[in-house]
Structures are given as structure tokens and as C-alpha cells.
């Protein structure tokens, strides 16, 4: 390998758990390199070791619990493993820098952002205050922040998520490092913001010649930004190669599976129109939050306004939108976890929006909800069987019968029946989400509300859970209200789609129509921002021109 122009060279890296040489290998013989002006995407599911690799390079591993025990990590020719803390501190910021997933927690909330960037300059340069300030403002302009003077003096909470991430990037690049490590930098951002940040990283890299090690789990993002791709799994490098080679002709089985699991943006073949009964409809549903300020002033925030949707038996309606669009508020109103401020909810022909708690009780069983985070939606102190049986027991079914039903449901969601006496922590995220589905089905509901139910799962697990939901719908004829921010997921599971923005539905219709021929500017914007939309990952080829070139 020609060593000139190589910014980062990792060879045969081994990282173990604990100091003993018998410790489990968290990173096992990983070799990769990043050249100047090149972006290497490190892809893998949770637990694959991609973040540990990055932290090893930065010298930020938790001392004593994760220990590099073999191989070498060279930054522009300099060995990093075994370098002194002092030297590593010098190298960070000047030669290598890192940006993180959650810019709010990476920034100090009580120091203005300008001063936080200034700290880097003060620590590593001998410039005077005036020059430093000029350089910072120039950098902030480069990351395309507006009104740099004002933002310089702002505290992190005054900025949006995208602006905070720009600040992080400015801080990382202000000393023009040779290597930038980006650990899922856009995962916490909305798609439209994500697209801007990805473009920004690309442009800055072109101007400064920085080498970028970009860690992500999202194949769409990979397709947008990578020059080369390295796939990791369980601490090992599965394969690496140029972007096109990996996406078109992956040589390893695992990579093929990973790509196959990425849902396509092209909506699935539409099901025949349904004439079944309407099980759920809302009319002009609204939720207003009133905030009383310290001086008695009243501020109203409309989280949802005039939301009218209709859902028939056996169909799936998707509500898509960015964070803060009000999609979760709508879901929680419909399940009556919060009380709507206006409008009506008809569930199987009965108006439930104004029923008091006691009268609502018999209707609860008709509509059930699955939450986003399977680690928090199951009570850790209660066995899986008791959790699933809780609903039926509430509605008067004897305990033994309810547990027998729980056993059937576990089979339905493809879990072993002995899971019934185990506790939630003994299961993985995907398995827990199956348990949550079983709990929701235990009451034989007419409507199942899935609030970002697959967003916290790895892509392969996500595909399995989506498949399960689809199967359950076919078998039980249940209606699904599917809340998601992910247009790919929506395209694969929904019959109809409603797009929400700032509490209102801006466009609604059959999925095939909304997602391929959007009428509203906002929907178009969302679709255009979806990362990797030129690629049909599952079929290892770019999307046919006609759809990629849609207006």
C-alpha cells in the first residue's frame, strides 16, 4: 500500500475487555485506512464495534475496561497506541477531531458556544483574543451558520439541533485537523437537517482536504457520503471496498443481508381498495398545550390541529413527519393517554374523545399501542407472562386462562413459550418489541397504534418486526396506525400515508401516490432529503431513473 497521503492507518487492531490477555476481543484484528480527501464509512449494527474503533483512535477508551492489546493505529505515520496522554491531548483537535451523535450533550450548556470553540484555540495556539475571534467567526461562516455574531454569544439551548451540530463541526475543524471522526453525527437530526449536514461535511472536506472516518448504521447515509465502505460485525471487519462495489456486488453474505434488510423507498405494490368497516376515525382532532409563564401570561402551543384521518379494518395508515410535527401527540390522543383539546375520535362507531376515565375503560381493549423504546415499555420487575396477561386479567379473564393466552401469543410472535416466566432484561431489543406486540394483541384490539415501533431497532431486526406486523395483520385483520419518521419504513408497510408538519396534516392519500407523486412542497422536500434515495439497496442497484428523477 502506498503510504503517502494516508491519514489514518489501522492494522490488526485488537481491543479486549479488561486487562487480562484472556479478555473477550471486542475488536478482533481490524485493519483499515483512510486517505486524505477521502470518506470511509464504517457501517455495522449495534454492538459491531464501530464506535469502539473510533474511540481507540481518539485515545478515549474507558481506561482499564477496554484495552487495546495488539496491532497498530497510525495517524499520519505516528503510532497512537502507547502514546502518552500528553501527546494524545496535543493531537486531538490539532491533527484529529471527533463529532458525536448528540450535539446537546457534547456541548457545555452553561458556556456560550463561541467561547467553547475559543477554548480549543486557547489550548492549542498562541493567538491573541482578537485573531482568535476573527478565526472563529470565519469558521462559523464556513459551517453556514446565520448571524454568526449573535450565535457566537448564544448558549447551546438557544440553537436548533442542526445549528448545534454545525457548532460541533466548527469546533472540530477550526484547527484544520488531518482526520475527522464523525460518530453517527446525523442520527439524532431530522432528514432535512441531516441532508444539509451531510452536504456541509462533504464541502468542508473538499476545501480542507480532511480525511473523514464516518460511522453510521444507515445505508442511506452511506450512499450519500462514502467514497469507500467498511462493514463491521461483532468486532470483526466483514469486508471493505469502494462504495459502488459494496452496494452493487457485496461479496460477503452478511453485507448482502444487511443491504437486503434496508426497506425500499419505492412503495410496495398497493393492496386492493378495502370496503371493510371503518374502525377508527378522527375529526378535526386538536391538542393545545397551555403554558403559564411566571408573570401569569398564557402561551398556547398547538401540538396538533384539525387532524382528520380514517382507518378501515385490515388496513395500515402511516403518519409521517419530522420531530415536533405532532405525529406522536396524535397517536397518544387517539389512545387517550393524553386528552385531546378539541375534535372527535370514533372508535368502532363509538365516540371516545370525551369519555371520562371510568367510562373509557371498556373501550380501551379495542385500541392498543406499541411504543418506540422496547427497553422502557416493559416493566423490568414483572415476568413476560404477567406483562402479557395483565390486560386480559383487567377485563375479567381468569389468571390461568390469561397465561394460556400469553403462551399462544408468544408463539404467534415467534418467541419460545418458556419466555413466559422470564424477565424482560433476558431478551434483546427485537425480542422485547415482539413481547410488546404480544401484550398489545392480548386484548384482541381492532386497532394497533405503533408509535415509532421499529425506530430503535437495528435494520435487520427492524425488517423482521415489520414482517411480523404484516403477517399479524393478514392473519387477524387488525387495523394499524403506524407513526414513523422513516419514509422507507412507511413505504413498505402503509396503504395510506398522512404527512404532518407543525401539527397539521399537509398531505394525505394512498402511499403509492403520496410517496411517488407528492403534491405538496413539504412532502417533496422530505422525499428529496431521504438519504440514499437513488439506491435500491435490496436489489443491489440504483433506482430506475424514472423514479429517481421524479419532480
Amino acid at each position: 500500500m502506498n503510504s503517502s497521503g494516508v491519514a489514518l492507518d489501522i492494522s490488526d487492531l485488537v481491543v479486549r475487555l479488561g486487562k487480562s490477555p484472556q479478555g473477550e476481543r471486542v475488536i478482533d484484528a481490524v485493519s483499515l485506512h483512510v486517505r486524505e480527501r477521502e470518506t470511509l464509512c464504517l457501517v455495522g449494527e449495534s454492538g459491531s464495534g464501530k464506535s469502539v474503533t473510533a474511540l481507540t483512535v481518539m485515545g478515549l477508551l474507558q481506561k482499564g475496561s477496554l484495552v487495546p492489546s495488539g496491532g497498530s493505529v497510525k495517524l499520519v505515520g505516528e503510532q497512537l497506541l502507547g502514546a502518552s496522554d500528553r501527546r494524545l491531548r496535543q493531537l486531538r483537535a490539532t491533527t484529529m477531531a471527533m463529532i458525536f451523535q448528540e450535539p446537546m450533550t457534547a456541548l457545555n450548556p452553561v458556556v456560550p458556544v463561541g467561547r467553547q470553540i475559543d477554548e480549543v484555540l486557547r489550548a492549542h495556539t498562541g493567538l491573541d483574543a482578537r485573531t482568535r475571534r476573527k478565526r472563529i467567526l470565519a469558521m462559523m461562516e464556513q459551517v453556514r451558520l446565520p448571524e454568526v455574531e449573535r450565535i457566537f454569544a448564544s448558549y447551546p439551548h438557544r440553537l436548533s439541533g442542526g445549528q448545534r451540530q454545525r457548532i460541533m463541526i466548527a469546533m472540530a475543524l477550526v484547527l484544520e485537523p488531518k482526520l475527522l471522526i464523525a460518530d453517527e453525527p446525523t442520527t439524532a437530526l431530522d432528514v432535512t437537517t441531516q441532508k444539509q449536514i451531510l452536504t456541509l461535511i462533504r464541502d468542508l472536506q473538499r476545501d480542507h482536504g480532511t480525511a473523514v472516518l464516518f460511522i453510521t448504521h444507515d445505508m442511506g447515509v452511506v450512499a450519500e457520503i462514502a467514497d469507500r465502505v467498511a462493514v463491521m460485525r461483532q468486532g470483526r471487519l466483514v469486508e471493505s471496498g469502494a462504495l459502488d462495489n459494496i452496494l452493487r456486488a457485496p461479496s460477503m453474505e452478511y453485507t448482502r443481508n444487511l443491504l437486503s434488510a434496508v426497506p425500499s423507498l419505492v412503495p410496495r405494490t398497493a393492496r386492493a381498495d378495502s370496503a371493510e368497516a371503518i374502525v377508527l376515525e378522527t375529526s378535526e382532532l386538536g391538542k393545545v398545550y397551555r403554558e403559564r409563564s411566571f408573570f401569569g401570561g398564557l402561551r398556547e402551543v398547538a401540538a396538533a390541529q384539525d387532524v382528520t384521518i380514517t382507518l378501515r379494518k385490515g388496513r395500515t395508515l402511516g403518519i409521517v413527519g419530522e420531530s415536533g410535527s405532532g405525529k406522536s401527540t396524535v397517536a397518544r390522543c387517539i389512545v387517550r393517554l393524553i386528552d385531546p383539546s378539541s375534535g372527535g375520535i370514533r372508535l368502532a362507531g363509538r365516540e371516545i374523545s370525551e369519555l371520562p376515565r371510568r367510562l373509557l375503560q371498556p373501550h380501551r381493549k379495542r385500541i392498543q399501542i406499541i411504543f418506540q423504546d422496547p427497553y422502557r415499555s416493559l416493566n423490568p420487575r414483572i415476568t413476560v407472562g404477567e406483562t402479557i396477561a395483565e390486560g386480559p386479567v383487567n377485563f375479567g379473564i381468569p389468571k390461568q386462562a390469561a397465561l394460556a393466552k400469553a403462551r399462544e401469543l408468544l408463539e404467534l410472535v415467534d418467541l419460545p413459550t418458556d419466555a413466559i416466566s422470564r424477565y424482560p432484561h433476558q431478551f434483546s431489543g427485537g425480542q422485547r418489541q415482539r413481547i410488546a406486540i404480544a401484550r398489545a394483541l392480548a386484548l384482541d384490539p381492532d386497532v394497533l397504534v405503533a408509535d415509532e415501533a421499529v425506530s430503535a431497532l437495528d435494520v435487520s431486526v427492524q425488517a423482521q418486526v415489520l414482517e411480523l406486523l404484516d403477517e399479524i395483520q393478514t392473519r387477524l385483520g387488525i387495523a394499524l396506525l403506524f407513526i414513523t419518521h422513516d419514509l422507507r419504513v412507511a413505504a413498505q408497510i402503509c396503504d395510506d400515508v398522512a404527512v404532518m408538519q407543525r401539527g397539521r396534516i399537509v398531505e394525505q392519500g394512498p402511499a403509492a401516490q403520496v410517496l411517488t407523486n407528492p403534491q405538496q412542497a413539504y412532502t417533496r422536500q422530505l422525499l428529496e432529503a431521504a438519504p440514499g434515495r437513488e439506491w435500491d439497496f435490496a436489489n443491489f442497484r440504483p433506482v430506475a431513473r424514472t423514479i429517481a428523477a421524479m419532480p
Binding site: Q62, Q372, E467, Q492
Partner: protein, 296 residues
């Protein structure tokens, strides 16, 4: 969308949330505290068999005798055996400590659960609790005892009342954060009744902090009882309690300081042991404390 199932990482089978009593011997200091407390408790329970004399028997001829084979710790101003009185006194002190811990935790748990869940109850009840916390606990206890006469029960109630707000606030704060958990919302949506949600899903979250708080209440109740007795506002003076023994011993402090020394020593050992065990319980039950230790 058929794809080959990728195996998810298996998760080792462990059962948390049952920390057991292993923490009682976590370090040599805590182990010593556990042994000391066990000895104090045993001696109090077995007082009728261990005590060489009747703790109430007056023997004017034997006043203020020094330690001897007959009276191991000597006698007090009325000729009563000091060792016997201390052993019997432990029964009252420990009973008050345990009783105050159980009552305040029980009442505080109910108040905290209810006011953590219902906003309108919260507004009223928590202001009452704030008011109670503003009154010095000794003053409140003296007032209660002098209004209703000194008996074991009134002293217990007087000591328990000021402890309730602390427990209630603790439970309330735990409930306020736990009720936002999705598993509680899930329980609401499967139609569980409010009492069931409180008992099954919220209450278990409070057990660990309550065990810790209970030990602190216990220690401070033992001390408060001793103070009340010492001030003469506690249980009637002839009843042997550590506070009463010290109060009477005060008159003879110049002649026979051991009258104050021995009950004082036992009082200190009991309180120190309970507090140390409380700290150990907190470390064992709060995973964050463990993590910090592990990070060192």
C-alpha cells in the same frame, strides 16, 4: 421482504432487583457495624434472661455502688442495677426506632404515591408537608407528648410525625419520574385500574430508596427518643430507657460518670451501626453508586 434471520446477541441470564443481604458484610467496617447491631438487638430481646436483677427494684441500701461481681456496672441513685436497666432500656429504644421507621415509611409511602399521581391532591398535601417540615422536630415532639401525656405510643407518634414529610417527598419524586415511563403508559392502555398501576408498576420503584430512608429514620428516632427522655418529656422516668438512665445519671455526674457513659456508649454504637448499614444499603441498591466505584 423475506430475509435470512441474523442471530441477535444472546443475553446472559441473571436476576437483578434481588440484591440480597450480601451488602451487610461488604467491607470490614460494615461487617463490624452489622455484628454490633446484631449484639445490641439480641441483648435487648434477651434482656429478661440476661439481666441479673429486676431493673425497677429499688434498693436504697445499695445506692451508687461501684462495679462489683454482684452489680457488674454498679447501681444508680436508687440502688437499681445499671446493667439490667441498660439492657431493658435497649428494648424501648430499638422498639421506638423500628416503630418510627415502619410507621413513617408506611404513611409516607401512601401519601407520596397518591400525591405523586394526582395533581390536585399534590397541591394540598405537599403544602401541609412543607409546613410540617418547617417546625423543628424536637419542638413538635415535645408539644405532642405534653398535650397527650407520655406513653410509649404517644412518644412513638410524636417522633414519627416529623419524619413523614421526608419519606413522602422521596416517594413522590420517585413516582413523578416513574409515571412517565412507557411501561406505565402501557399499563394504562391495557386498562389497568389506578390502584393496580400504583401497586404493581410504581410502588416497586420506591422500595430501594425507602429501605435506605428507613434506616436513617430509625437512627434519628432512637436519638430523638433519648433526647426526649433526657429532657424529661419522654416516657415516664422510672421506665428504663437509655435517655432516662442518662437523665438520672446527670445528677451524679461528678460522683459517678459511668451512669452516663454506659448508656451513652450503647446509644452511639446503635446509631452509628444503623447509619453505616443504611449507607451500605444505599450503595448496594443504587447501581449508579456502584458504577462510580467501578470507574475508579
Amino acid at each position: 421482504m423475506a430475509i435470512e434471520i441474523l442471530p441477535e446477541p444472546s443475553i446472559p441470564v441473571t436476576t437483578p432487583f434481588r440484591p440480597g443481604l450480601g451488602f451487610l458484610t461488604a467491607t470490614p467496617i460494615i461487617a463490624t457495624a452489622s455484628i454490633c447491631l446484631a449484639l445490641v438487638i439480641l441483648s435487648a430481646i434477651l434482656a429478661p434472661w440476661l439481666a441479673p436483677h429486676d431493673p425497677l427494684l429499688l434498693a436504697p441500701a445499695q445506692r451508687l455502688k461501684p462495679a462489683s461481681a454482684l452489680f457488674l456496672l454498679g447501681t444508680d441513685g436508687y440502688g437499681r442495677d445499671v446493667l439490667s436497666r441498660i439492657l431493658y432500656g435497649g428494648r424501648i429504644s430499638l422498639l421506638i426506632g423500628l416503630g418510627a421507621a415502619i410507621f413513617s415509611v408506611g404513611v409516607g409511602l401512601v401519601i407520596g404515591l397518591v400525591s405523586g399521581f394526582f395533581k390536585w391532591v399534590d397541591a394540598v398535601v405537599m403544602r401541609i408537608m412543607d409546613g410540617l417540615m418547617a417546625i423543628p422536630s424536637i419542638l413538635l415532639a415535645i408539644a405532642v407528648v405534653s398535650l397527650s401525656g407520655a406513653s410509649l405510643m404517644t412518644v412513638l407518634v410524636a417522633i414519627t410525625i416529623p419524619e413523614i414529610p421526608r419519606v413522602a417527598r422521596l416517594v413522590r419524586s420517585v413516582v413523578l419520574s416513574a409515571r412517565e415511563e412507557p411501561y406505565v403508559e402501557a399499563a394504562i392502555s391495557v386498562g389497568s385500574s389506578l390502584p393496580k398501576i400504583m401497586w404493581r408498576h410504581l410502588m416497586p420503584n420506591t422500595i430501594a430508596p425507602l429501605i435506605v430512608q428507613g434506616t436513617y429514620v430509625c437512627a434519628s428516632a432512637i436519638l430523638t427518643e433519648a433526647i426526649l427522655s433526657f429532657l424529661g418529656a419522654g416516657i415516664s422516668p422510672e421506665t428504663p430507657t437509655w435517655g432516662n438512665i442518662m437523665a438520672e445519671g446527670r445528677a451524679y455526674f461528678q460522683i459517678k460518670p459511668s451512669l452516663i457513659f454506659w448508656p451513652g456508649l450503647l446509644l452511639s454504637i446503635a446509631i452509628l451501626s444503623v447509619n453505616l448499614i443504611g449507607d451500605a444499603a444505599r450503595d448496594a441498591l443504587d447501581p449508579r453508586m456502584k458504577q462510580r466505584e467501578g470507574g475508579k
